[in-house]
């Protein structure tokens, strides 16, 4: 927990407050003080805006450096040269973690910015057709089989001359811009003399205006040159077409002479651990810098293995361990078959009508430009899980059902699983009496895992509630814990994290029911409940009387005020709620506002081991609602 800040007084205090605000965030009290400071102090407002601008400029400056260094990154050049081996190793493992956890890569900003710029340009606003770029790129790229040896050399020299010329022009333009800026500043600073001729002042203004126009023109021309370079698909630095083979270079066996004449689809940028290029002639060890041809694939072997593929347009695919990619294609749009394993992809904006397709044994994801993660399980019941970090992706199952998955959502294409886009959840804290889970808690843990949670399991006696709950989407308290002894009531009832519990003794502690006898209990032996609020998301689409457990259970209940949402009651006693919830801010039974969503659920200690399908649907809905996970409509 952040330490409470003293009331900010100096600019330094305020800057430190800003550093904290744009990191872990401020407490409501600190945020209130920040608002007050901004309200009262114009200097702070300037500092605030300056801080945000600087953050953006630093990002841009670092991204430029990073992009410039990236081609040589694999060779441990540039920025890497100053690092120790352990630092490199640490960075590699961070990358691997990122590939698996879906965290942003250090290139993300550069790639995103470049991709977005190109994307905007190819939106059809500035250029007539997105296809031109592809065709131009193909036309420009020399094919070894089509040209005699002297031609690439001549072309290369001509290309170098052109580049040198362009570089000279760029430098001249930049020099001129600096001159203009200096002159403009000088003219702007020159004070108007009281006895000056009005004509002089007009001339000064006119001159400033002319300089401004010239500056704008030069900047426009430079931007257009950059856009033009992108449009014709100039190969990135370090990716010059290969000349005659280096005598010392060992060509992979998979590349037959016939294949060597085809245009590569993607490049293997990096490899760690075991990875193989899959070709019709067999598989050979993959190496960094290797070009994958149409129809080839890549396989990583071992959980720690990792590889990165890059396409000429900047599309980048991080390949996790034990992953099998096959049939890479680029004609009429990129296509890749993910037979198993995990990939994370940053897909640059694709030409109109030519989306990138990730096919899997369970369906296919169609992408126009986004960042996503795909995990393919061999178990058809687990299927293919698609997570979208940015943009939109259409996921289609083998049955032809489609779902549009947007930024921050995921969907699963699997046997027996409804295809729907759902929000990606972060973490859940599951508190039980011990780490040796009973069958019921084990079933809950598996269910949470299947729902997409990263679950932190905690033994109640070792719980540090505030610390452990920090950053969690939901806290789930099992009925196996002994709440009165193990969790301080004060911490629990003020916890600003959604809570789901089926421990009836916690209902009054959390303020969800009164604390007197008859306000809550666990004395109803039932297998069915009656849904009283079928339209609420907590009802999971169910209505009427539904079976929730296979065997009679002592269902937990509570008597709740009208400010709570009652979802289900015993068939013969509508006063006792067996599934109920409170919205954040709704008045609890104690009259105090709920710090976050609260859900009371009917399960007993062993119930989860014998929940029916309907029982699990209600459990899922309870978790979804508590953690704000709303299903998004599927087509």
């Amino acid at each position: 927990m952040p330490e409470p800040m003293p009331p900010p007084g100096t600019p330094e205090d305020f800057l430190e407050l800003l550093a904290r605000r744009f990191d872990a965030g401020l407490s409501p009290d600190e945020e209130r003080r920040m608002n007050e400071r901004l309200r009262q102090d114009a200097g702070c407002r300037e500092l605030f805006v300056q801080h945000c601008l600087h953050a953006q400029m630093i990002r841009k400056a670092c991204a430029t450096e990073s992009a410039a260094a990236s081609p040589s990154e694999a060779q441990a050049g540039g920025e890497e040269s100053g690092r120790t081996d352990s630092a490199r190793k640490s960075r590699r493992s961070t990358r691997r973690r990122r590939a698996l956890e879906g965290r942003p890569s250090p290139w993300k900003f550069a790639v995103t910015a470049a991709g977005f710029l190109i994307g905007l340009v190819t939106l059809g606003v500035l250029l007539p057709s997105g296809d031109d770029r592809t065709h131009a790129a193909k036309a420009e790229r020399p094919r070894p089989s089509e040209a005699p040896r002297a031609e690439p050399q001549a072309a290369s020299e001509a290309e170098e001359r052109k580049q040198a010329q362009a570089e000279a022009q760029r430098r001249a333009a930049e020099d001129r811009l600096q001159q203009i800026e200096r002159k403009r500043e000088e003219l702007s600073r020159r004070p108007a003399l009281p006895d000056a001729n009005p004509g002089d002042e007009d001339r000064r203004r006119k001159e400033i205006e002319e300089l401004r126009s010239e500056k704008e023109r030069i900047e426009r021309e430079m931007r257009e040159a950059v856009e033009l370079a992108r449009k014709v698909g100039a190969p990135p630095q370090g990716e010059k077409p290969r000349g005659p083979q280096d005598p010392g270079e060992v060509r992979p066996e998979a590349k037959t002479p016939a294949e060597g004449t085809r245009v590569g689809v993607a490049k293997v940028e990096r490899v760690e651990g075991e990875a193989y290029v899959l070709a019709p002639t067999g598989k050979v060890a993959a190496k960094g810098g290797e070009i994958l041809l149409p129809g080839q694939g890549l396989e990583t072997s071992g959980a720690e293995s990792w590889a990165v593929l890059v396409y000429p347009d900047g599309t980048r695919i991080e390949v996790g361990g034990d992953t099998d990619l096959r049939e890479l294609r680029a004609d009429g749009g990129k296509r890749i078959y993910v037979a198993k394993g995990a990939v994370r992809a940053e897909v640059a904006k694709q030409p109109a009508g030519q989306p990138m397709v990730f096919a899997t044994p369970h369906g296919e994801a169609t992408v126009l430009g986004t960042t996503l993660r795909i995990v393919v399980e061999s178990d058809p019941k687990k299927g293919t899980r698609l997570e979208v970090e940015k943009g939109k992706v259409q996921l289609k199952t083998l049955a032809g059902k489609t779902a549009l998955v947007e930024s921050g959502h995921f969907a699963v294409a699997a046997t027996g699983v409804e295809l729907a886009a759902r929000r990606i959840l972060r973490d859940a804290l599951f508190v039980t009496d011990s780490m040796s889970l009973n069958a019921s808690d084990q079933a809950v843990l598996k269910r949470l895992d299947r729902l997409g949670f990263r679950v932190t399991l905690k033994e109640a006696s070792k719980l540090l509630l505030r610390e452990d709950a920090q950053g969690k989407a939901v806290v789930i308290l099992s009925s196996t814990i002994s709440p009165s002894k193990e969790i301080p009531a004060r911490e629990l009832n003020s916890l600003a994290v959604p809570v789901l519990t089926w421990e009836f003794n916690l209902f009054p502690v959390l303020g969800m029911t009164g604390s007197k006898k008859g306000d809550f209990g666990a004395d109803i032996e039932l297998t069915r409940v009656r849904i009283t609020n079928p339209t609420h998301v907590l009802a999971a689409g169910l209505s009427g009387a539904v079976p929730v457990t296979a065997r009679p259970q002592g269902l937990k209940w509570g008597k709740v005020p009208p400010t709570a949402v009652t979802i289900a009651v015993p068939e013969d006693d509508p006063q006792k709620a067996v599934i109920f919830g409170y919205e954040a801010g709704a008045a609890l039974a104690t009259g105090k506002p709920a710090p976050e969503r609260r859900v009371g659920f009917f399960m007993a200690n062993e119930s989860a081991a014998s929940l029916t399908r309907e029982g699990w649907a209600l459990f899922d809905a309870a978790v979804h609602w508590a953690a704000e996970k709303q299903p998004v409509s599927a087509k």
Partner: protein, 172 residues
């Protein structure tokens, strides 16, 4: 304004708009998402936008509404800036419209080169890798508070260096 002009201006002013959106949503990736939305909306409304200053004002307004909506959707309302404070800040953002951020970034690069390797590493972790302060502290084996203090100091040094370079007092 026609679509082409709208896109050109927004690309040119992307860094400033991202800074504005970052101020509201506090996460650079969210700011990037919002920026894309603003561009799409601006292209749809291009005929109603009269000139560059109108476009910038309009973009901030739309970005602000979308940003606050996003925070509400993510249940982060109540931890942001108050509406009246955002209104007050508008004057400062308006002044920032006249700043040539490309030039400022070039100057800033020079300033960053003068920082210590550790300070540059903190900036890289914070702004390129979007690493949070606690994680940076673990990497650098220091306290989170020290990271905040360092970031504060670095921002201050960079601001002073930029001011000097703008006046031509200090050259690269």
């Amino acid at each position: 304004m026609n679509k082409e002009e709208v896109v050109r201006v927004l690309i040119r002013e992307q860094a400033k708009l991202l800074a504005y959106l970052y101020a509201i949503v506090r996460e650079s990736s969210l700011a990037e998402d919002l920026f894309q939305e603003v561009v799409v909306l601006a292209m749809q409304k291009h005929e109603e936008i009269t000139d560059v200053s109108h476009l910038l004002l309009w973009s901030r307004r739309v970005g602000r509404l979308e940003g606050l909506k996003l925070l509400r959707d993510r249940r982060r309302a109540g931890v942001g800036l108050d509406e009246d404070v955002l209104d007050l800040l508008e004057a400062s953002w308006l002044r920032a419209d006249s700043i040539d951020l490309s030039r400022e970034t070039e100057l800033l690069k020079g300033c960053m080169e003068k920082l210590s390797p550790k300070a540059r590493e903190i900036l890289r972790l914070k702004y390129v890798q979007a690493t949070d302060g606690a994680h940076i502290a673990r990497i650098l084996q220091t306290k989170v508070h020290s990271v905040y203090v360092s970031l504060t100091r670095i921002h201050k040094i960079l601001a002073e260096c930029l001011a000097k370079r703008r006046l031509g007092v200090e050259h690269a």
